[in-house]
Amino acid sequence: MKIAFELNGKVTGVDIEPRETLAEVLRSRCGLTGVKISCEAQVCGSCTVLVEGLPVSACTYLAYEIRDKRVITIEGLADAKGRLHPLQQAFIDQFAFQCGFCTPGMILAAKSLLDENASASEEEIIAYMSGNLCRCTGYLAILRAIQQASAELRGEPKTSRDGAKP
């Protein structure tokens, strides 16, 4: 079947099979391999994309349901000039990833949180982000990155990590 939806700001038409998941369509048909597939059971959050601004696990979301909806993937986060989103920059500044496999999903989940509440408290961040697993970092740096981006989105001056070169 042919469906149209808005992908990273552009109306996109794709031919899909009814059994295809959104993750499969985005990766194989749209070439957006920043959508990472891991647990395939809605546990790990690595395949998180935003549908109508809210995080969904693309691994278990059937692609036909995306018709006429807006989807944002990690590839659509930087602005038109290629400037990184404050969360992307904060993840770099705070060393908030190692292998990077969970990172696209982690950043998109965090974006959804900050879009809803740019002043999210530490407890709120931890509760919201507990559906995204990271096996490398131990989460602290990710928490810091989300706090950095949150501060920036609220217009507070950026603080760099202790010891980081300015």
């Binding site: 790990c44 990690i74 292998c99 990077g100 970092t137 980081a164």
Partner: protein, 778 residues
């Protein structure tokens, strides 16, 4: 923290080289790779733990739409199907027999994943079930069923050759002994003795195993893989397909997590055999559920006893370690050897007797897991140190400090002396915990340590290209698995060549391009590849100086070498200027190289001792048995942190895996079946498990053989965590649990069963016990 700052680039927390790629989704992993004409493979797996394969009928599957062919153990023709770097016991597909539930029996190769998947159920396999051995006791019983029942030859690894799989289920046994253990126990003032169990673990690298293989018509085999050790995989592939090394190319792009689980060869021979079978490139992408059935850690039962004299000095240790190695050896022979070495810990022991036995069973094959045997044995070692301290009425920290080897002291006859300040590390962790103030009720604290003979065998070759335009390429066979090795190696090259970091690029693991590096594991990369890159830079500089002698017409003694070039009188020449002038050609480059082997400063093994020092404070909910982490402190005794932020991140990552094992992670078998082999049922640490207070300390005494005195890290902080948690639980409740993980159920039951007797029992706190309001994570 930042270091002494005598360096321009190293010892600074520069941003990661892979940062932009990883936050924009453009980083390419093997799972993202597709090639022209690529077909897909899916695997049929064994439903039995142990069975003869009487027949396989794949004719109907072969006729399914989209199916290109089916590969079974009967179709392997001229391929040498058994591989393994330690023991060649692992057939790339089951041949005649299956040895665990989940073992690959057949591969369907099709135009797409669905066609391959759907055809699997059309394959008819006739089995004759055999008795299975599912645990170490039944495997060791007299007249036990043999998992293998055939002998194997040793693999590429040195030192493993006798595998009497035809006669018994013992895959490997290691004996370590010095002194007179029996006399020491007879004379001991106190002895602690006990049996401990460390569970089976699934590393859960978030990218499951994946390979894309292309065995082309010219006999060239190209494999993209998520492997940690591309050169070991190349060696296995060359042997399986009887190809020269120059006809096997293994390329490893970014890897989505490894933690040991992607060490050595996994699915590459099978993927390559599929490509060989259909004369097309083939991709084999396992699911996480299949990854559960591919590799796990060795679970360990440890019987251990430790003796002290009347002054509280350790006099003897004796241990028997049984490792459940599963159906194939993989890297368990090395886990066995390392567990036997590492169980001594960083302590002075005049008398030691250790037996470690790796045992085949009809379960998922076990292999490397972060720490390589150290986590399994540090749990009993450091639990028993605590027990012994309480037995003799000594503070556990004081007891450790009394018995720890100091820097330069030998803990293992014949091995490199300790190259770290373990007592200082322990005091540092202890200070952090003490700064929390008086212990609240149902809280407990512990600091534990481990010492691992790390670095693996030192054969590491590297190349640095210095280009005439001032840019530098580092060619390294070390795999970027997230640990940050690319960034660190680039920092070292920028430091040595005197160029800005932005001028350095790294060409990653590709066996056709990069020189041999034995492995990426055992915390070796910064120490060995870092040193190799540094030496390669020095060799390039030496060449530049020779060129300058010729260009300037003066001997090198008349000019001054400085960072980035030379000075002669008032003239300054940079290395790139020298190169361009020498060749009188733009766009020219020179190569500096380094071949590290076990010689000179790398003669003494281990290359370094990786020290793990961790402190925890736990809070226990007695009603549910749930343990939460109040405080976590890691101490990375790393010589010099090339990138302090990344080093700390490694320590926290390892410690987090450690408390995952300590609190929730365990693979559970019920009979032949793995019961919790999905991420729905296998609980790993998540955001909400973050400790209230986290302190990541680095100790930088520049006492390693790596560049600038660096040593490796990244495994150490995992090892002591299990014992830390168990000791802290004892302090909080007086209850000793000798089996991990400390799940709420296990803790709650232990609290019900045992009469509290320890220091925490019934303690009433006089302090104000308000919960600290703010989270402080330094």
């Amino acid at each position: 923290m930042s270091g002494p700052n005598e360096f321009a680039v190293v010892n600074h927390s520069v941003p990661r080289a892979d940062g932009v790629a990883k936050v924009t989704g453009s980083a390419v992993y093997t799972s993202d790779i597709t090639v022209e004409r690529m077909a897909w493979a899916k695997l049929l797996r064994s439903p039995f733990a142990h069975a003869k394969i009487l027949s396989i009928d794949a004719s109907e599957a072969r006729r399914q739409p989209g199916v290109i062919d089916v590969l079974t153990g009967d179709d392997l023709g001229s391929i040498h199907p058994y591989y393994g770097h330690a023991v060649k016991d692992h057939p790339l597909l089951a041949i005649g027999k299956v040895r665990y539930v989940g073992e690959p029996v057949a591969a369907v190769i099709a135009e797409n994943e669905w066609s391959a998947q759907e055809a699997l159920e059309k394959i008819k396999v006739e089995y004759e079930e055999l008795p299975a051995v599912l645990d170490v006791d039944s495997a060791l019983a007299p007249n036990a069923t043999l998992v293998h029942g055939m002998d194997y030859i040793g693999g590429a690894f040195r030192g493993f050759d006798d595998f009497p799989g035809g006669k018994e289920n013992i895959c490997q046994s290691v004996h370590v002994e010095w002194g007179d253990v029996d006399a020491a126990f007879a004379a001991a003032a106190h002895v602690a003795e006990g049996e401990f169990y460390f569970p089976m673990i699934y590393a859960y690298a978030m990218e499951p195993y994946v390979a894309v293989a292309d065995y082309d018509a010219k006999g060239q085999l190209t494999v993209h893989s998520s492997a940690q050790h591309p050169f070991m995989v190349r060696h296995d592939l060359a042997e399986v397909f009887d190809l020269p090394l120059n006809s096997v190319r293994v390329i490893v792009p970014f890897v989505g997590g490894g933690y040991g689980s992607k060490s050595y060869t996994k699915i590459e021979p099978l993927t390559a055999a599929c490509s060989w079978k259909v004369s097309r490139p083939v991709k084999l992408q396992l699911s996480v559920e299949e990854a559960f059935l591919t590799t796990r850690s060795d679970d360990a039962r440890v019987r251990i006893r430790t003796a002290v004299d009347s002054e509280g000095k350790l006099t003897a240790k004796q241990a028997l370690i049984h490792l459940n190695t599963g159906a194939y050896a993989e890297n368990s022979p090395m886990v066995c050897r390392k567990a036997a070495n590492r169980i001594v810990g960083p302590y002075r022991f005049p008398n030691v007797r250790i037996d470690c036995v790796a045992i085949y069973t009809n379960t998922v094959p076990a292999s490397s897991y972060r720490g390589l045997g150290a986590a399994q044995i540090t749990f009993p070692v450091e639990s028993q140190m605590d027990e012994l301290a309480h037995k003799i009425g000594c503070d556990p920290q004081e007891f450790r400090l009394r018995n720890l080897a100091r820097s330069g002291e030998s803990i293992h006859p014949g091995l490199r002396p300790i190259d770290a300040d373990v007592p200082g590390d322990i005091r540092l962790a202890d200070e952090v915990l003490r700064s929390n103030g008086a212990l609240e009720p149902k809280h407990g604290r512990s600091v534990c340590c481990s010492a691992s003979d790390a670095g693996a065998h030192p054969v590491t070759l590297a190349m640095v290209q210095v280009h005439g335009d001032g840019s530098v390429s580092v060619l390294s066979g070390s795999t970027e698995i997230g640990q940050g090795s690319h960034t660190v190696l680039m920092q070292i090259a920028a430091e040595e060549m005197g160029v800005p970091l932005e001028k350095v690029r790294l060409v990653g693991s590709d066996t056709a391009v990069t020189l041999f590096e034995r492995s990426t594991g055992a915390s070796r990369t910064t120490t060995l590849m870092g040193r190799a890159v540094l030496e390669a830079c020095h060799e390039a500089i030496a060449q530049c100086k020779k060129m300058a002698e010729e260009l300037l017409g003066v001997p090198a003694s008349e000019f001054v070498g400085e960072r980035g070039g030379i000075r002669h009188g008032n003239d300054r020449l940079t290395w790139p200027e020298i190169i361009e002038r020498y060749f009188q050609m733009e766009g020219c480059s020179i190569i500096g190289r380094s071949y590290l082997r076990r010689a000179g400063p790398l003669k003494s093994v281990p290359i370094f001792w990786e020290i793990g020092v961790v402190g925890v404070e736990i809070a226990l909910d007695e009603e549910t048995g749930k343990i939460s982490l109040d405080t976590l402190v890691t101490v990375g005794d790393v010589g010099l942190a090339i990138n302090p932020a990344m080093t700390e991140s490694q320590d926290l990552g390892a410690a987090t895996m450690g408390f995952g094992v300590g609190l929730f992670e365990e693979l559970i078998y019920d009979g032949q079946q793995l019961m919790n082999g999905t991420m729905l049922e296998y609980r790993v640490p998540r955001f909400s498990d973050l400790a209230r207070r986290i302190e990541l300390k680095l100790v930088q005494n520049r006492d390693g053989v790596g560049p600038y005195g660096a040593k490796g890290g990244g495994e150490g902080s995992l090892n002591p965590l299990g014992a830390c948690l168990a000791n802290a639980l004892y302090q909080a409740t007086g209850v000793r649990v000798r089996r991990l993980p400390l799940t709420p159920e296990r803790v709650w039951k232990a609290l019900q069963e045992k009469t509290p007797q320890g220091p925490g029992a019934g303690t009433k706190s006089s302090a104000n016990t308000n919960t600290p309001a703010a989270r402080t994570r330094a």
